[in-house]
Amino acid sequence: MRGLGVVPAGSRQHRRRQIIGWALFALVVVLIPFLIADTYSPTIFGNRYTVGLGNLSQAIGMMVAILGLNIATGYSGQLSLGHSFFVGSGAYLTAVLVNEFHWSYLSTLGVVVPGLFLFGVLFGLPALRIQGLYLGLLTFAVAAVFPSIIRLDEVKDRTGGSNGLQIESDLVAPSWAPLNTVTEWLHAIPGVGSRVPDGLTSRQEEAVYKYFLLVIVALVCFWLVRNILAGRVGRALVAIRDNPLGAAANGVNLAAYKTLSFGISAAVGGVAGTMLAMHSGFVGPDEFGFAMAILLIVGLIVGGAGTLHGAVVGGLAIRFVPEWSSQTQTLPGTDTALEGPYGTAILGALLIIIIFVLPGGAAQGFRRIKARLMPVAPQPPRG
């Protein structure tokens, strides 16, 4: 395969390539909701698959959840199987604040982020003493406990117990949002425009607005986490993961940074919880049990632990793989109908296959393809 030719890192061509890449990404992110505002459902081998905007929004929430898990597990190497606990706490905190104090969804982040950060730090304190697999065990058990805490008699009135909690607030697009105008413009484009509806119904408008809101929150999260990880903190965390002894010898305060990583991880997880609550307008105790904890680990590994864009792939995978497998009613060439929990089995198989052939996850695969097609020659730092 012939690539685009080697460009030196940091050169003008390299910059241009990066800018084009990001522009394409932005274009896709902006166009998608209008293209699938009516659920996009291609038919492959007689099976109808759907790519709903709602599912995509939920996947964005999952991406942020995996991003948070990535900080504790992917970057600083502490096996946390209980991340769903933080996500669930964030979701319930948002639900209760919105319902009882009539806050807006986004303003609950002002409580969720610091609250979950503190909570994560408290959680990280025992994790200093309990290491490796013992920590994995403990966090797994904690994840399993979350639903029963929600169902406790003492808090049942607030959390809705087993029935879950309907959040009494709708996200309605503000009147200044030009969603309909944009839709009409897109509809007017010849060729592509036929995929875009003529105008948005109020339900579609709400879905599109929600999507953009979630995308913005997610982008802010990814940007902040990227900045944290690119600096002193990130290096310290990676050093702790790769060689704790060496990190300590070089002056990294292990206790402080490990605790900090749990704090940040929990805070980001809490934001993910808020996003999931925004998405569905409903929180239920069993959504955030250990099934979700395992799913998040699957997403982390499939996407690529210790990378940021891995979280994006992981979030899409854990949302859409089970969905599509349940929509696969006939396999081509056979009469077998896929009924039952095939989706979970496929995710499990995917997990094992990824560990076998691509231990760095999808992110590693992308990096390899990119290195083949658009090689960049590293340059020594100047000065």
């Binding site: 096996l79 025992p126 003493r129 309990i130 290491q131 490796g132 697999l133 013992y134 994995g136 065990l137 403990l138 797994f140 058990a141 904690v142 399993a144 406990v145 029963s148 805490i149 169902r151 406790l152 008699d153 002894l245 250990f290 395992i294 680990i297 699957v298 590994i301 009924e339 039952g340 929990p341 095939y342 989706g343 979970t344 089995a345 995710l347 499990g348 198989a349 995917l350 997990l351 094992i352 560990i355 076998f356 231990p359």
Partner: protein, 313 residues
């Protein structure tokens, strides 16, 4: 006195309940029975951890598969329950040895995290495969032990099942001890778990030995499952709950101690039944187990009987 009264008030404890000896005894017996079942699955976890240094999160799923096989052999094929359980133990041992050969052995044994992830993948696959093949209908598996209770004390009954569960676990531990200390396979197993490299250098075939460990662990886990299930109903998610209590038991006792697994199992079983009854925490059965491990691990990070790893700093 005031403090005591307020503590009792907070937890909604009535003195009637506390002074009810029969209730204590009844819950004590139930705790022993539950504890014995947790202990046997915890034993299986410890076997794997001892030899390979990681936790097999698919242990519960292997046991689930085994219990379903036992159900097929006994209820559908009409074998006596005890014989069916033995057949299921053999079958799940074969499956586990196969899994070890195909999914576990290709990985370098000193790198633990990928292996843990693989076992998580196996958990997802086996659990959903059981759901696909046998469906989500609940079934009931008869117990291996006769019903009825030889000793009764009001509402407190020491049933044959409790005696059988405890007896089975102690027999298994005894046999394991004999196997590990008196046979050549056991010697090889201990050598591999104490130092893999040196074991390989003196000519022990490490791979088959570890495969043997997996097979044995799966058989013990299946036996544990066959002890648990008659108390509950058989359905595909049943072993996940058991797995969590067993993980708690193993962590409590120390992940590399067999005695620890048994004691941990009994403690978790008792804690679960006694605390839940007397503190009135029916929703918090799981949370009490977690609280117990958290406290123990904070004081002793490698469990009660686990060997402390010496680190050179």
């Amino acid at each position: 006195m005031v403090v005591l009264a307020s503590v009792l008030g907070v937890f909604d404890i009535s003195l009637d309940k506390l002074s009810n000896g029969e209730l204590w005894l009844a819950q004590f017996f139930r705790g022993l029975s539950d504890g014995a079942t947790y202990a046997s699955v915890a034993l299986a976890l410890v076997m794997i951890y001892k030899s390979t240094g990681f936790i097999n999160f698919a242990q519960g799923s292997l046991a689930l598969l085994g219990v379903y096989l036992a159900y097929i052999f006994s209820v559908e094929q009409g074998l006596p329950v005890a014989l069916a359980v033995v057949c299921a133990m053999v079958a799940s041992a074969v499956v586990a040895a196969f899994i070890e050969r195909v999914f576990i052995r290709p990985f370098p044994p000193d790198h633990v995290l990928p292996l843990v992830i693989v076992t998580l993948g196996l958990l997802l696959i086996i659990d959903s495969a059981v759901g696909i093949v046998w469906g989500f209908r609940t079934r009931s598996l008869p117990s291996m032990f006769p019903s009825g209770a030889p000793i009764e004390w009001g509402i407190a009954q020491l049933t044959w099942r409790t005696i059988g569960n405890l007896g089975t676990v102690f027999t298994v531990v005894g046999l394991l001890y004999l196997l590990l200390s008196r046979t050549k396979v056991g010697l090889a197993f201990r050598a591999v778990s104490s130092n893999l490299e040196s074991a390989r250098l003196v000519g022990i075939r490490v791979g088959p030995t570890l495969g043997f460990g997996w097979a044995l662990a799966a058989a013990i886990g299946t036996l544990g499952g066959a002890l648990v299930v008659p108390d509950l109903l058989l359905e595909p998610s049943i072993m996940l709950r058991v797995l969590i209590f067993s993980l708690a038991a193993a962590a409590l006792g120390g992940l590399d101690s067999m005695v620890g697994a048994v004691i941990g199992g009994l403690v978790v079983g008792l804690a679960r039944n006694l605390l839940v009854t007397f503190l009135d925490l029916s929703e918090l059965a799981l949370a009490t187990a977690v609280a117990v491990i958290l406290v123990v691990l904070l004081v002793r990070p490698t469990g009660l009987f686990g060997s402390t790893r010496v680190e050179r700093v």
